[in-house]
């Protein structure tokens, strides 16, 4: 049993015996109280609880059925929803998560369709045309699209007059660890072009996200922010040891522009002191110039950042050696002796040691292991080495700067460096949620066959699905649990080969259909994925819902759309009950709309098109009566005959129809109904007399003498008709 916790043998009884699956501690058992705002007056007689969408409970509260007829304004009950717990951590709000979810649909769908077309190309064994992009380039495009969704830690526009004391550029948005994680994955798994300058990319990454990497311990970033707030109060900045500390720290992690800016705050630059401290100032400036000339192994550098870029390794090596020689030369210069200011001398010397790659100084200047790690890349080995050596270097840095409680980004980083795809997936899921795994799998598999096999292998323990499918299904479940995001779940479900369609059908059937708009959105999804069965099922459900709530027109419409003959007929018999009572000559106006909806003959109406004919008959009859119009009367006879011939005319209407027809039978200007027609009507009357003996016969609301009256009229008419035909 995989879910079984290791048995606690101290009590002598193994857990499997007393049946607990997880270690149980009573203090974690805190009950939460959720107030219900149902707004009903007591007494409440019944409460029922069921699961709603996601982590919400649907609580139905019923009042005692009222015996007092006067208070009929009161509602009998109400349904309220209670959302349990807080769903996510505070870094990203629910609304922002939804925005990310919406935005990632298009890039995801595009990548899947490209994947399918590439697969079909290779199946046809066509060589991709030379203009085709490599697969990783498509993934790169996808990654960039997603990354832009996750926030843009751009710096604010530079103010016109720069504040000399502002060392740190202001960020528009707080950096998010989700984006940081995404960029890490992109850097290591997708971006083939930047593999050659991976160390420099890591330097940039740390510059953006240094504020995130530590939970409890200070970082260079946090120390800089703290110092920044105190700069204004400092009179002689170079006397403060923290000033030199921070300059070294910033230099160690490669924030060169900040270092230069800080150096220029040095007191020796001030005009009133320049004369006295000429040598000192010369040394400070020399270091600043050296820093700004630092060779960087990268194609380009952002505006505002400093360093000299080299694309090719030999050029870089040459420049690097020249630069190091200049540092050594400065280090052994005679000017140091002439520098009176001790802090300046020591601080600058310390900086030279950093640039020369002195491990001890690097270690003391940095706070976090990641910072130390980056400083190694900057000053000790600026070239890309294999992941294996990067990993062992990281292990070394962690040993030097151990943290007991590593941040989720650092756990992910270790997983990536350790080339352990399972750990990477697990950390993505644990630290960044289901969205991250479902989308980052594409990055993980972009360039590595091993990862590809790992996520696409069908697993027995997962019921035959692959890891990729599992994570997509889980993400789709999360999407379906929200009122606004369920509509995008189908995109992910349909990309799941094994269980996707089944779950999609369940999802669609579970959606509420009370509102036409929601139902139509649901039906649209059915149309897109050609789920005709589901869509007619939904229409049936909706039709019955409307029927129960008295919206007969809507109900008939949806059942017609669903081609549900059975329910339409059942509805018909109920409708006829109310027809019998309410259609008394004039009140057809209310029925008009419904009858129009039912349409004329030939359309599917499940016996309901009787109403249509009945209405026509009534209309003609009315015309004939009011205007004494023979043509209208003849038309009325025609509808009468078609009604009586039609098998779908319910028996209970036979007598009322025949009773109405008495007016036609006793038409003054001679018989309208011929012998054979009269015979047919007489037969129907006979059939009716027999049917009356059955117990389930419904007696129509007519005068008691109606039957005899009809019989008499029919007889008379038969006589007149025979005479007329002679």
């Amino acid at each position: 049993m995989p879910g079984l916790a290791p048995g606690d043998s101290a009590g002598g009884v193994p857990d499997s015996v007393n049946g607990t699956l997880v270690p149980y501690s009573s203090d974690s058992h805190v009950s939460a109280i959720y107030p219900l705002r149902h707004g009903l007056n007591p007494p409440i007689s019944r409460v029922s609880v069921s699961w709603g969408r996601g982590n919400s409970l649907r609580v139905s509260v019923f009042r005692q059925p009222d015996s007092d007829p006067k208070s009929d304004g009161e509602v009998g009950g109400r349904v309220v929803e209670v959302t349990l717990g807080k769903s996510r951590d505070g870094e990203i709000s629910d609304a922002q998560w939804r925005k990310i979810a919406y935005g990632s649909v298009s890039p995801f769908a595009l990548l899947q369709s490209r994947k399918n077309s590439t697969a079909s190309l290779s199946r046809m064994q066509l060589s991709p045309s030379p203009y085709h992009l490599e697969w990783w380039e498509y993934v790169m495009e996808y990654s960039k699209d997603i990354s832009s969704l996750l926030g843009d830690p751009k710096t604010a526009l530079a103010p016109l007059i720069e504040d000399p004391n502002e060392v740190f550029p202001k960020k528009v948005e707080e950096p998010s660890s989700l984006k940081a994680a995404w960029e890490l994955m992109e850097m290591f798994y997708v971006d083939k072009l930047s593999q050659a300058w991976l160390p420099e990319r890591l330097v940039d990454w740390l510059a953006d996200y240094d504020s995130l990497i530590s939970i409890d311990l200070p970082t260079v970033h946090s120390k800089l922010v703290e110092f920044q707030n105190q700069i204004v109060t400092l009179q002689v900045i170079e006397d403060d040891p923290r000033y030199w500390d921070l300059i070294s720290s910033a230099l160690a992690v490669g924030w060169l522009e900040i270092v230069v800016k800080l150096l220029r705050l040095h007191g020796s630059y001030r005009l009133d002191q320049l004369g006295r401290r000429e040598t000192e100032n010369g040394l400070v400036e020399a270091v600043a110039v050296l820093i700004s000339k630092m060779p960087r192994m990268r194609p380009a550098i952002d505006a505002g950042k400093i360093g000299e870029c080299f694309k090719a390794k030999p050029d870089f090596v040459k420049a690097w050696e020249r630069w190091r020689a200049q540092i050594t030369k400065l280090d052994s210069s005679a000017f140091w002796v002439q520098c009176d200011h001790r802090q300046t001398r020591e601080g600058l010397k310390n900086m030279l040691q950093i640039m020369l790659g002195n491990v001890d100084v690097l270690c003391s200047s940095t706070c976090h292991w990641m910072e130390l790690y980056i400083s190694h890349f900057l000053y000790i080995r600026p070239f890309t080495a294999g992941l294996e050596s990067m990993y062992s270097l990281a292990q070394k840095c962690i040993r030097l700067k151990h943290t007991s409680n590593p941040h989720k980004l650092m756990r992910l980083m270790i997983g990536i460096l350790g080339e352990n795809n399972e750990v990477v997936l697990a950390e993505c899921s644990r630290g960044f949620g289901t969205w991250m795994v479902a989308h980052a799998i594409e990055l993980l598999t972009a360039g590595s066959n091993e990862a590809d096999i790992l996520v696409h292998e069908e697993r027995e323990d997962l019921g035959g699905i692959s890891l990729e499918e599992l994570h997509r299904l889980v993400y789709a479940q999360l999407l379906s649990s929200h009122l606004l995001t369920w509509q995008i779940a189908p995109i992910y479900l349909t990309s799941c080969m094994r269980q996707g369609m089944g779950l999609l059908e369940i999802l669609l059937l579970k959606q509420p259909v009370q509102e036409n708009q929601m139902l139509l959105k649901n039906l649209e999804i059915c149309r897109l994925y050609e789920l005709d069965g589901i869509s007619s099922h939904l229409m049936e459900i909706s039709g019955m819902y409307h029927w129960k709530h008295g919206r007969k027109g809507c109900a008939v419409f949806w059942l017609q759309q669903a081609h549900d003959e059975v329910r339409l007929s059942r509805i018909a018999s109920q409708l006829f009950d109310s027809v019998g009572k309410s259609i008394s000559g004039e009140s057809f106006k209310q029925w008009e709309g419904l009858i129009e909806l039912l349409g004329s003959e030939g359309q599917l109406a499940g016996g309901l098109n009787f109403l249509h004919k009945y209405r026509d008959f009534k209309k003609c009859l009315q015309h004939a009566e009011s205007r004494k119009d023979a043509d209208a009367a003849r038309q009325a006879v025609e509808s009468l005959m078609s009604l009586m011939r039609n098998a779908s005319t319910p028996q209970r209407f036979w007598l009322p129809i025949l009773y109405d027809a008495v007016k036609l039978l006793s038409w003054d200007e001679g018989p309208l109904i011929n012998v054979s027609q009269t015979n047919l009507l007489l037969n129907k009357l006979q059939e009716l007399s027999v049917a009356r003996l059955r117990p389930d016969f419904v007696e129509p609301e007519l005068p008691t003498q109606a039957l005899n009256h009809v019989r008499y009229s029919l007889g008379t008419n038969l006589g007149r008709a025979i005479l007329g035909e002679l």
Binding site: E81, S93, D94, A95, Q96, R98, K99, Y102, V105, S106, H482, L483, L484, Q487, E515, N516, L520, K521, E524, R527, H546, H549, G550, R551, K552, G553, C554, F557, Q560, Q561, K589, Q590, W591, E592, G593, L594, E596, L597, G599
Partner: protein
């Protein structure tokens, strides 16, 4: 052959982090200001709100001016020169003064409201207010009721009660005494208050053989051609119904269309409006030709259909466009509400 300097259609998408139920432009109080009235629904807090936002001309962002809390979600929203009217899913109707709502105060209030058991049962599906001269607001519901609300005092009278045997889903005034309603099965009804009791003309929704039936979602009547109404509904259907030729609807768009033009959309058309901004020259307007129409659809299309011409697409979104409105004072500007909790503003050159 230089293509320099041709102004492009600009599209601004503004995420709202709340569902947008409906959106309308408000008549502006000053020529330099544009504002819109938006019905929001916040799913996190489970609260609806009706808000007036002014549009910043430079950054094209929306700034909240004032707001009002409706008793339930807004189901339909319309604006005229003087008033805005909103109906709710719980069956109440609220009228606001358009100028008062734009006052920079934290909240605005309704001038009159109508609700209660005698008014509507459940969701009001459509409301409309006549532009000028008339002060009555018509409301229709799935309960089959048609009511008229007086804007002055909020009193209402019943025009028709279908008792649930019919359901209405859209309504539009044609003249101060006439209006058109639409419902299930592509049915349209023409009502004349001078001949009360029932609709004076009915379109039975028969759009020709092989066409699937559906629901009318939106109706528009152009003030210069009151005998023709434009309707949009299910299956990408947009058609015009002329009272003078009641049995010959003119199908502008829809699946199974006989015309060569491929329909822009095959899903629900949520809203249609006559297009008042068009580049075609005036001599192109013959009285027999229909005016161009704009529509938005479930599959994310905002397009313009001109009879006998290829339809043009203004906006294609990956999600549904649920409602839109053309600014009457500045018809090049269209504002849309998108399914994915955002608003789009389309500014045409």
């Amino acid at each position: 052959m230089a293509v320099i300097g041709i102004p492009q259609t600009q599209i601004h998408r503004l995420p709202q982090y709340r569902y947008v139920d409906s959106i309308r432009w408000l008549p502006s109080v000053s020529p330099l200001q544009q504002s819109a009235i938006v019905a929001f629904f916040d799913t996190d807090a489970d609260t609806p709100s009706l808000e007036v936002h002014s549009l910043d001309q430079e950054s094209r962002s929306l700034d909240l001016v004032s707001s009002w809390v409706p008793p339930s979600r807004i189901s339909s929203l319309k604006c005229t020169q003087a008033f805005a009217v909103a109906s709710t899913v719980s069956g109440s109707l609220h009228v606001f003064s358009a100028t008062e709502a734009q006052d920079p105060s934290p909240a605005f209030r309704s001038v009159v409201s109508a609700d209660g058991k005698g008014f509507h049962v459940g969701r009001i599906a459509g409301v409309d207010l006549m532009g000028c001269g008339s002060n009555e607001c018509v409301s229709v519901g799935e309960d089959g009721r048609v009511n008229l609300v007086r804007v002055l005092d909020g009193s209402y009278r019943k025009v028709f009660d279908g008792n649930g045997l019919v359901s209405y889903t859209a309504v539009k005034w044609a003249s101060p005494t006439e209006f058109v309603t639409g419902g299930c099965g592509f049915g349209l009804q023409w009502w004349d208050l001078r001949r009360p009791g029932s609709a004076v003309a009915q379109f039975k929704g028969n759009l020709g053989k092989g066409r699937t039936s559906g629901i009318i979602h939106s109706i528009d009547v152009h003030p210069s051609r009151k005998h023709t109404c434009l309707a949009g509904g299910s299956a990408g259907t947009v058609f015009a119904w002329d009272l003078r030729y009641q049995h010959q609807p003119i199908i502008l768009s829809g699946t199974g269309n006989d015309t060569a033009a491929q329909p822009l959309s095959e899903s629900e058309v949520w809203e249609v409006q006559y297009e008042s901004y068009t580049k075609s020259s005036m001599n192109n307007f013959s009285s027999s030709k229909l005016l161009p129409a704009m529509f938005c659809s479930e599959d994310g299309i905002l397009g313009v259909i001109d009879q006998g011409e290829e339809p043009t697409e203004l906006l294609a979104e990956p999600c549904a466009i649920n409602s839109f409105d053309i600014d009457r004072q500045n018809p090049s500007e269209v504002i849309c509400s998108l399914e994915w909790e955002s608003i789009a503003i389309v500014s045409r050159p």
